[in-house]
C-alpha cells in the first residue's frame, strides 16, 4: 500500500482521496479557521454566561430588597413566623409604600409588577398579590433555604425567590415567593444569543476566506517553484526559480533549489559532453581503420604498401584498445563504490618503482628525473592506486616536456601532511584551463590528434583515484615554463 502511494507520488499523480488532495492554502485556512472557531465559541459562551449571571444577579439583588421591604411592611419575620393570620394584605401593604403614579401604572400592566405569594409548608397558597390574578407562582419544596430560580407562569418568564418562613422553633411553616418578570432581560439575553449565533458563522466564513487569501498570497512563491519545475526537463535545465522579494524560508527554498539545479545542469552537461566526446573518440579510430582498409582493398597493391597500411592499422587498434581499457577503468571506479585498501606504505619505495618504470620513456627524450625524498615518509594509500596515480602524472610530465629538460620529484613534510610534488619544465597549461584538465577527454591542445598519443583520460583517472583515497591533488602551471602537481597525503599517514 505504502509502495503504491509512493509510486503515485513519483509519477506526479497525487492520491485522489482524503485530506491529501486539499491544497496547502486551503489546509492552512481550514486549520486556522477551526482553531479560531473553537476559540470564538469559548469566548462567546463565556460572555453569554457572564452577562446572564450579571443580569440574574441584579434581579436577585432587586428581589432581595423587595423581600426585605415586604417583610418590613407586612410585619413578617423570617425566623419568627407567627402564622399567616398576622399578615395584612401583602399587595396593599406593598403598594401603599409605593408612589401613587407608579402603583397606577402597575395595575394597568400587571405583568410588569412584582408578584408576591405566600404558601404554607405543603405548598397551599395562603395569600397572593393582586398582580397574579388567577395565576399561581411555582413552588418547589425541594429547595431548602432561600433559593433564586427562573420559572414560568401563564407564559411569562419570571425570576423568582423562595424564602422559607420559620417559627421560633425553627420549623418552616410557609414560604414567601417573590417574582419579577424577566421580559426585558430576556430580550437582551435573547438578542445577545441571536447576535452570537448569527455572527459566529459569518465571522468564521470571513475568517476562512481571508486566511485562504493570505495563505495563498504567502505561498505564491511555491506556485512559481512548481511552474518552473514543471517546465524543466533533462533537455531544458536552464530554467531558474525567480527569487521572492522577502528573504524568508521560501526564498531559501528557491535559492536552494536553484543551486541544486545548477549542480544538476552541470552534471548533465558533463555527462552529455562525455558521451559526445566518448563517441567522437571511439568513432574516429574506427573511421580511420575502416577507411584505410577500404581504400587498401579497392585496388591491387604492392606488398610493401599492404605492410605499411596494416602496420598503421595495428597502431591505431592499439590506441583504441588503450582507450577502451581506460574508459572501462573509469566506468568501474564511477559505477561501483570501490573501497581502496589503505595501508601505511613508504612513499619513497613506490616512487622509485614507478620512476624505474617510466625511465625508458624519459631516456628516449633525454629527460632527466631527480628525486628528493623526505626521510621515512610513510603515507596511507592503496599501493596499486598510488602507483597508477604516480605513473600517470609522470608519463604526462614526460609527454609534455621538451627533450633535455628536467623533471623534479620532491617529497616533503609540512606541519600536518606529506606532500609529493612533481614538477616539469614542459609546455605548461594556460591558467583558464587548469581546472578542466581533470575532465574526461579534456586535452589542452584542442586538436584531438594523436601526435602526443594522449587520450585525455589519464588525469581524470588520477583525480578519481586520489579522491577515493582522500589524497588532495593540486596543480600549478605557467604556460611554456612547466607544470607542478602536488599530492597531499592525509595526516594519518604521517608517521615519525
Amino acid at each position: 500500500m505504502k509502495k503504491k502511494t509512493q509510486n503515485a507520488l513519483l509519477k506526479g499523480q497525487p492520491p485522489t482521496k482524503g485530506w491529501s488532495v486539499m491544497s496547502l492554502r486551503n489546509r492552512i485556512a481550514f486549520y486556522y479557521t477551526i482553531a479560531t472557531a473553537f476559540l470564538i465559541a469559548i469566548v462567546f459562551t463565556t460572555i453569554y454566561f457572564m452577562v446572564e449571571k450579571v443580569v440574574y444577579k441584579q434581579f436577585d439583588d432587586e428581589i432581595k430588597s423587595e423581600i426585605s421591604e415586604i417583610l418590613a411592611d407586612s410585619n413578617i419575620s423570617i425566623h419568627n413566623f407567627q402564622g399567616f393570620a398576622k399578615i395584612r394584605d401583602i399587595d396593599d401593604a406593598h403598594n401603599d409604600n409605593d408612589h401613587d403614579d407608579k402603583s397606577q401604572k402597575k395595575k394597568k400592566f400587571p405583568v410588569d409588577t412584582d408578584f408576591i405569594q405566600l404558601v404554607n409548608s405543603t405548598g397551599e397558597v395562603m395569600n397572593k398579590s393582586a398582580s397574579l390574578s388567577w395565576c399561581v407562582l411555582a413552588f418547589n419544596p425541594t429547595h431548602s433555604g432561600t433559593a433564586y430560580f427562573n420559572s414560568n407562569f401563564g407564559g411569562t418568564m419570571v425570576r423568582q425567590a423562595q424564602v422559607p418562613l420559620t417559627n421560633q422553633q425553627g420549623v418552616t411553616e410557609g414560604y414567601l415567593l417573590v417574582a419579577m418578570p424577566l421580559k426585558n432581560a430576556l430580550i437582551v439575553l435573547h438578542d445577545l444569543q441571536k447576535i452570537f449565533f448569527f455572527s459566529f458563522p459569518v465571522i468564521i466564513l470571513t475568517l476562512f476566506i481571508l486566511t485562504r487569501l493570505i495563505a495563498g498570497k504567502s505561498i505564491q512563491p511555491i506556485e512559481k517553484v512548481i511552474a518552473t519545475a514543471e517546465k524543466m526537463s533533462q533537455e531544458n535545465l536552464d530554467q531558474r526559480i525567480p527569487l521572492p522579494y522577502h528573504h524568508d524560508e521560501l526564498y531559501r527554498l528557491s535559492a536552494t533549489m536553484n543551486a541544486l539545479l545548477d549542480r544538476l545542469e552541470d552534471a548533465f552537461m558533463r555527462e552529455k559532453n562525455f558521451t559526445a566526446d566518448a563517441s567522437h573518440e571511439l568513432k574516429t579510430p574506427i573511421a580511420v581503420l575502416k577507411g584505410t582498409l577500404e581504400v587498401l582493398i579497392r585496388k591491387p597493391r604492392e606488398r610493401e604498401q599492404y605492410e605499411t597500411k596494416i602496420q598503421f592499422c595495428l597502431t591505431e587498434l592499439n590506441r583504441m584498445g588503450r582507450m577502451i581499457d581506460q574508459l572501462l577503468l573509469l566506468a568501474r571506479y564511477e559505477s561501483i563504490k570501490i573501497k581502496p585498501h589503505i595501508e601505511t606504505i613508504a612513499l619513497s619505495r613506490h616512487l622509485d618503482t614507478v620512476i624505474d618504470r617510466v625511465r625508458p620513456a624519459a631516456l628516449t627524450k633525454d629527460i632527466s628525473l631527480t628525486v628528493d625524498h623526505a626521510e621515512n615518509a610513510m603515507v596511507a594509500a592503496d599501493p596499486g592506486m598510488l602507483d597508477m596515480i604516480l605513473e600517470n602524472i609522470l608519463s604526462n610530465a614526460i609527454k609534455y616536456s621538451p627533450s633535455g629538460s628536467l623533471i623534479a620529484i620532491v617529497t616533503e613534510r609540512t606541519t600536518n601532511a606529506i606532500v609529493c610534488r612533481i614538477s616539469d619544465q614542459g609546455i605548461g597549461i594556460p591558467q583558464e584551463k587548469l581546472q578542466a584538465v581533470f575532465d574526461r577527454f579534456y586535452r589542452v591542445d584542442e586538436s584531438r590528434n594523436s601526435s602526443t598519443g594522449g587520450l585525455g583520460l589519464g588525469l581524470s583517472i588520477v583525480k578519481k583515484l586520489a579522491d577515493l583515497q582522500q589524497i588532495k591533488i593540486s596543480l600549478e602551471s605557467k604556460e611554456k615554463s612547466g607544470t607542478s602537481f602536488s599530492l597531499t597525503f592525509p595526516v594519518r599517514g604521517f608517521n615519525s
Partner: protein, 225 residues
C-alpha cells in the same frame, strides 16, 4: 577535380587523400579550421570536405565564412556527431551534404559525384561530340571504342569537358587538376595536352581540344564553333 579536406585526424585525412587521389582527384589537406578557411578562400576548389570538430575554427564556422564570402563551392560535412539536431544544424550552416563517421568510402565517392554533377545532368557521364567519359568508372569512349588514359590525362580531359565551350586558363587547369604541392610550372599542361590529343586522334575523335594562344585551352561541342 580538386578537393580540399579540412580534417585534424591525420589517419582519416591520410586515407581520404590516398583513396581520392586514386579516383583522379587532386586533394589538398588542411589540419585546422583557420588554415582550411584560408585555403578554401584563396584557391578554387570543386568541393570541400570539412570535419566538424577541428581546432582553431570549427567546421561550422569555416562553412559559414565560406558562404559569407559568396563562395558556392559544394561542401560535404564529415563528422562523428550524429544526432538529428547536429545534422540539421550542419546543413543549415551551409553544407550541401552530411556524412557520418564511420562511413563507407564508396558512399563518400558517390556523394562527391552527386555534388559535382551539373544541375541539368541526369547521370554522371559527360560528353563532347562523340566522346563520352564516365567519371565513376573512369572510362573514356569514342563512340563505342574505349580509350585508355592515365589518371592525370583523364583528370585533365574531365576538367576540360566539364567546362566545355568555356576557355580554361592555364592557371585554372593547374588549380583544378593538380594539387597544391605542384609548383606553378604550367608547361606540364602542354605535355599532357599533347598526350591527350595524340590518343584522342588515334581513336578517331578528332582534335576537339583547341588552343587559345597565350590563354589556355577549350573543348568545343562540334558545330558550335
Amino acid at each position: 577535380m580538386r578537393l580540399l579536406i579540412i580534417e585534424d585526424e591525420p589517419g582519416i585525412a591520410g586515407f581520404l587523400k590516398d583513396g581520392l587521389e586514386e579516383e583522379y582527384f587532386a586533394v589538398d589537406i588542411a589540419y585546422d579550421g583557420k588554415t582550411g578557411l584560408d585555403m578554401a578562400l584563396i584557391n578554387e576548389y570543386d568541393l570541400l570536405i570539412i570535419d566538424w570538430m577541428i581546432p582553431a575554427l570549427s567546421g561550422i564556422e569555416v562553412c559559414r565564412q565560406v558562404r559569407k564570402a559568396g563562395n558556392p563551392v559544394p561542401i560535404l560535412f564529415l563528422t562523428a556527431k550524429d544526432t538529428l539536431e547536429d545534422v540539421v544544424f550542419g546543413l543549415d550552416a551551409g553544407a550541401n551534404d552530411y556524412i557520418k563517421k564511420p562511413f563507407e568510402f564508396e558512399e563518400l565517392l558517390a556523394r562527391i559525384r552527386v555534388q559535382l554533377r551539373n544541375k541539368n545532368q541526369n547521370d554522371d557521364s559527360l560528353s563532347a561530340g562523340i566522346l563520352t567519359i564516365n567519371p565513376v568508372t573512369h572510362q573514356v569512349f569514342c563512340g563505342s571504342n574505349e580509350i585508355t588514359l592515365t589518371p592525370k590525362e583523364f583528370a585533365l580531359l574531365e576538367y576540360l569537358i566539364r567546362n566545355k565551350d568555356r576557355v580554361c586558363t592555364r592557371s585554372r587547369i593547374i588549380e583544378h587538376v593538380w594539387d597544391i604541392h605542384f609548383d606553378s610550372d604550367t608547361s606540364v599542361i602542354d605535355v599532357y595536352i599533347t598526350f591527350l590529343r595524340r590518343k584522342l586522334e588515334a581513336a578517331g575523335a578528332g582534335n576537339i581540344i583547341q588552343t587559345i594562344r597565350g590563354v589556355g585551352y577549350i573543348v568545343r561541342e562540334p558545330g558550335v564553333s
